[in-house]
């Protein structure tokens, strides 16, 4: 069991990344594509959190009575993941705004139907 679990989260992260990328590459609709990008980015959450995890450790919040001797998980990667979520949310918002304008100007959201850039 130990062997299976010791790399399982890293495999999940890779799976999310590849599936998200597959969706981005083959998407026929920009809204779908943006959601796939969000899936792709969520792989980084799994990766970051699994790097900082430690068996039997507590969360890095010491508001309760002091836990003597129990180690805590890494707060640095958790803080980094928070940054990651914020960036993802804003990127998605910006891309969706672009998709709205794209649909208005070209009447399509299918990347394959787009012609070359016009000035």
């Amino acid at each position: 069991m130990m062997h299976f679990l010791s790399f399982f989260p890293y495999a999940v992260a890779a799976w999310l990344f590849v599936m998200g990328l597959y969706g981005v590459v083959t998407s026929r609709n920009f809204v779908h594509l943006i959601m796939c990008l969000a899936v792709l980015q969520s792989s980084t959450y799994v990766l970051l959190l699994s790097i900082g995890y430690r068996w039997g450790a507590v969360a890095p919040v010491f508001a309760g009575p002091p836990v003597v001797g129990t180690p805590a998980v890494d707060p640095v990667v958790q803080a980094l993941m928070l940054t990651d979520i914020v960036v993802e949310a804003t990127v998605v918002a910006l891309l969706l705004a672009l998709a709205v304008q794209l649909h208005k100007n070209t009447r399509t959201l299918n990347p394959d139907e787009l012609e070359a850039l016009e000035g």
């Binding site: 010791s6 590459v25 083959t26 969360a59 180690p71 990667v77 928070l82 940054t83 709205v100």
Partner: protein, 255 residues
């Protein structure tokens, strides 16, 4: 690029990715055996040095505050960008919520149950949002998380009523000012350290008593500024998207 070519390129890239990823994993300790040392060091010193019991907030708003400043401005710039993209373009009119020409496609107005439930939720949600923003230094939370919760309150107003009510409750100008104040506030709090002869973003405010709300110095101040910015920014995004879908029309009736 043609579809088949794109998939071939994808497969090639994924193969390359897996090779590099596996190579990288070999140098990583197995899951559940975090080797340290940075996390352990910060976990040991944060409560004593900064009087903050949530170490994640202490990292975000103090030890690594300069990075978070950059993150804050990523948020700021993309809200500005989205607002700019969703503004009324040339050749479009704002019909001020006039009836669509296809009345059968109009959304039905919310039911009484939905209206009562969402309106009853607004008060507790605002309180919860403020709690999360102001207690980020003690328990999980902080400006980013609480700001998003606060921004859902106007969204509930839209769900319970209509866009007109949403516009009355959230003034666009006020939200712009609030967002700028939040982002600028973070920037200016950093200068306190310089003024008092230290470093930029140094924690120079009184640290208070560990476990109390007004503890941890600049962590609380930055958390509040961030909460203001995130809440206002997300309301601006909602405003832009709702206005775009509900009011802005191409001249001549098209969408």
């Amino acid at each position: 690029m043609k579809r088949s070519g794109r998939i071939a390129f994808f497969l090639l890239s994924v193969t390359g990715f897996f090779a590099v990823y596996l190579w990288g994993l070999l140098g990583l300790s197995p899951f559940g055996h975090y080797p340290g040392p940075y996390g352990d060091v910060i976990n040991k010193v944060a409560v004593y040095e900064r009087h903050a019991t949530d170490v994640v907030s202490a990292v975000n708003f103090d030890y690594r505050a300069f990075d978070t400043l950059g993150e804050e401005f990523i948020l700021f710039i993309s809200v500005v960008g989205a607002t700019l993209l969703l503004r009324r373009q040339k050749g479009e009119t704002e019909d001020g919520g006039a009836e669509d020409e296809t009345p059968e496609r109009n959304a039905p107005s919310p039911s009484d149950a939905a209206r009562a439930f969402t309106l009853a939720l607004i008060g507790p949600l605002v309180l919860f949002g403020l709690y999360i923003v102001s207690h980020g230094q003690l328990t999980p939370g902080g400006g980013f998380q609480g700001g998003v919760i606060l921004a859902t309150a106007p969204l509930l107003i839209y769900l319970a009523g209509d866009f007109e009510t949403f516009k009355k409750v959230t003034s666009h100008t006020l939200m712009e000012v609030a967002e700028a104040l939040g982002a600028g506030g973070f920037l200016l709090i950093g200068f306190l350290g310089l003024i008092l002869g230290g470093h930029y973003l140094q924690n120079v405010l009184p640290l208070g008593k560990t476990g109390e709300v007004n503890s941890s110095g600049v962590i609380l101040a930055i958390s509040l500024a961030t909460g203001l910015e995130v809440a206002a920014g997300f309301v601006l995004l909602l405003y832009g998207f709702l206005e775009q879908t509900l009011e802005i029309r191409l001249k001549g009736g098209g969408r």
